[in-house]
Symmetry: C2
Subunit: 411 residues, 2 copies
């Protein structure tokens, strides 16, 4: 992609109406644009990152047998009244449709997926089964000042599983835990993302959140000094030691909730009278689990974590482009040829072909965008090309062939 | 995918609350599920078709330089008040957000993309530029009885282009026309989809719709008997001859609008005071075009067209799976091996591995689902496998190797 054609605009200053680092950085670098508090446009740079995050999640959901579907944004009020959440779910957006019909904008999809699964599952032979979607969700947050971390409109992956017994749910729940661990690793936050014990509501002892350690995080968790586990603040009075190793030394830290997994058990199947027939011909309520991850919140989390004082620093597999090729010559003869060579090798290149923009401005903008591998073509570089990793200080002078060989291995 | 694990359920009878053929067929075959009038769940089979449609559109939009972005569902009322459409757009869903803020659910995105482009485009050097999204849209239709053809919540691809002059818009508009022709061809509706002259509103003589001939279509168009062009009913009084060849013989036919392209010119740039600086330093309003296609409506259109009295008949490139492998033996020894072989060849197979379901039921369901290539393994077939195309009557007995060779070429 030629930068002269790219739909983006960087800002030299932080936007005045954003307090959160993730929103400031992503807006300054032209990845997202604010429409109003808690509602954003994803520009091409941000859209590419979002899709890479979603694809990692999708692959791991498919690997544990999740079947992708798409449920709607518009929910009939009846469904929410059946579960009691029409009144109790505070951040539910409500509206009227044709014929004065009460509707909600989905903040989560138990009220839709339960009656849907009820049409598909009848017998123990139909169980277990799991479906997921990657879809836009809504919460009418009273305050929305954390950028992509607490948006009013956001993207969620929500997986729902259906089982004949709690034992079977337990088994699948552990599979999802493993899939989530893989996702955090692939997102580059594996080491700092902790399984965190949180309240299980009125029907389970615990639910589990995945919390990514981050000084600017809104959540407070208590981290076990021995094992990779934490306890959410809401639970710390009743659970003051590590629930896995019994360690009493828990350290308070700030974190961002990037995912959660929840044993719904029969809460929603009871509300919809969703039963299956077991081997002996008896009707039993279906046992459910739900498992969320927010790709847009993860994009915000990555921006909070992967940055320095110059801008964003994307990991290789999540960057909007693999390579940022920057021409500082007065013409594009040499850089254009290198650009063609790189894309012919299947590399994904953002090529700063702009003339009339100063070297300083181009390099500062490259640092702000944070594409991992930077190539500079200038009079100074002669036959060679200057290579620098965004995350490192060292600059190397390499031949075009050396560059192609190296980048094909790295990206 | 093993059919015993697939999240779906077929119906023997038409659903009672649907009049439209597309909804009846897609619901009966387990591709979609109705949540309420005009609002559907896409189940795995339907989701796969939808993604194939979207990918064809995406490829052709990228090929004409469209850059993919994602704009929100929630729109601030201010933007719609600026263009006057807060009052004039009848099917606009309206709601209140936190702080009693007036919001709309986007039925189209001129009110968002114009102020967005205004942040990116300043000079003639920034033009032309084009962005698009594939996103969920909303229209509060008073009646929604046509299944996926007139839903209240639906998927749209909307492309917006920005230009320095009407001449430049004209040039791009013709490029989009060509891209749209390619899309209809790839969707298998090239021959029956006609460029149709429609009202241009108060600022252009014409807009253009793409209408797919279909007896059950809601639209009435007047088709030129000489060239591949039509005139929409709304325009026929003022435009009673073919606008391209002057032919006066126009034949009335029913059709479904699958796309539209529109020269917005300066309507929206004027509303937002969106100007660029030309070569001579003068400020001028940006000239705009917009170009829509509805992937979910297209899925409905394909269901209206590609069917027979037994069910759906998908074209190869849009089917949810390439191959439907059906085991009629009492055990799965032979079929399981063939299934493995086929998927190892990279073929996308739905494998009916169910035991205890009758041959008649399996074959009837296969016809209802409409996967293009059917393979049957039974006692009758011995070492060979029975092959049948969904769209043809002929049944062939082939060896596994012959089948793999043939299907690798076809799919």
């Amino acid at each position: 992609m030629k930068q002269s054609k790219l739909f983006y605009k960087t800002l030299k200053e932080n936007p005045k109406d954003e307090e959160a680092k993730n929103a400031r950085l992503l807006i300054r670098a032209g990845f997202v644009d604010k429409v109003m508090a808690g509602v954003y446009n994803y520009l091409p740079l941000g859209f590419r990152v979002l899709k890479k995050i979603e694809n990692i999640i999708r692959e791991e959901m498919n690997a544990i047998g999740g079947q992708e579907i798409l449920m709607p944004v518009l929910h009939p009020a009846e469904n929410w009244k059946k579960t009691g959440r029409w009144k109790s779910f505070e951040q539910l957006f409500k509206l009227k449709g044709a014929g004065n019909k009460d509707l909600a904008l989905g903040p989560t999809h138990e009220e839709i997926v339960t009656p849907l699964a009820q049409k598909v599952v009848f017998s123990y032979k139909d169980l277990p089964i799991a479906v997921y979607q990657i879809q836009t969700k809504f919460r009418n947050e009273p305050r929305s000042k954390s950028g992509l971390l607490r948006a009013r409109e956001f993207i969620m992956k929500d997986l729902y599983s259906f089982h004949a017994s709690e034992e079977n749910l337990e088994k699948y729940y552990m599979q999802v835990e493993k899939a989530y661990e893989k996702i955090w690793q692939r997102l580059g936050i594996g080491k700092i993302t902790l399984k965190t014990y949180a309240s299980g509501g009125d029907f389970s002892k615990y639910s589990h959140e995945y919390q990514t350690l981050c000084q600017t995080g809104e959540d407070e968790i208590y981290v076990c000094s021995k094992c990779k586990v934490a306890v959410n603040k809401e639970l710390i009075n009743e659970q003051s030691e590590c629930p896995e190793c019994g360690n009493k030394k828990l350290e308070k830290q700030n974190a961002i909730e990037v995912g959660n997994i929840f044993k719904l058990k029969t809460k929603f199947s009871n509300a919809f009278n969703f039963k299956y027939v077991d081997k002996h011909g008896h009707e039993k309520p279906v046992v459910m689990g739900c498992y969320g991850i927010g790709p847009s919140r993860i994009m915000g989390t990555l921006a909070e974590i992967f940055n320095d004082d110059k801008g964003l620093v994307w990991p290789d597999n999540l960057a909007p482009f693999d390579i940022h090729l920057i021409n500082l010559n007065k013409n594009t003869n040499k850089s254009e040829k290198l650009y063609e060579k790189l894309i012919n090798q299947g590399l994904d290149v953002l090529y700063d072909d702009r003339l009339g923009v100063s070297a300083g401005e181009k390099l500062a903008e490259a640092d702000l965008l944070g594409i991992p591998h930077r190539l500079v073509v200038s009079e100074k570089t002669g036959e060679k090309v200057e290579y620098k990793k965004r995350s490192e200080k060292e600059v190397k002078m390499l031949s075009e062939d050396e560059i192609i060989k190296m980048l094909r291995n790295k990206t």
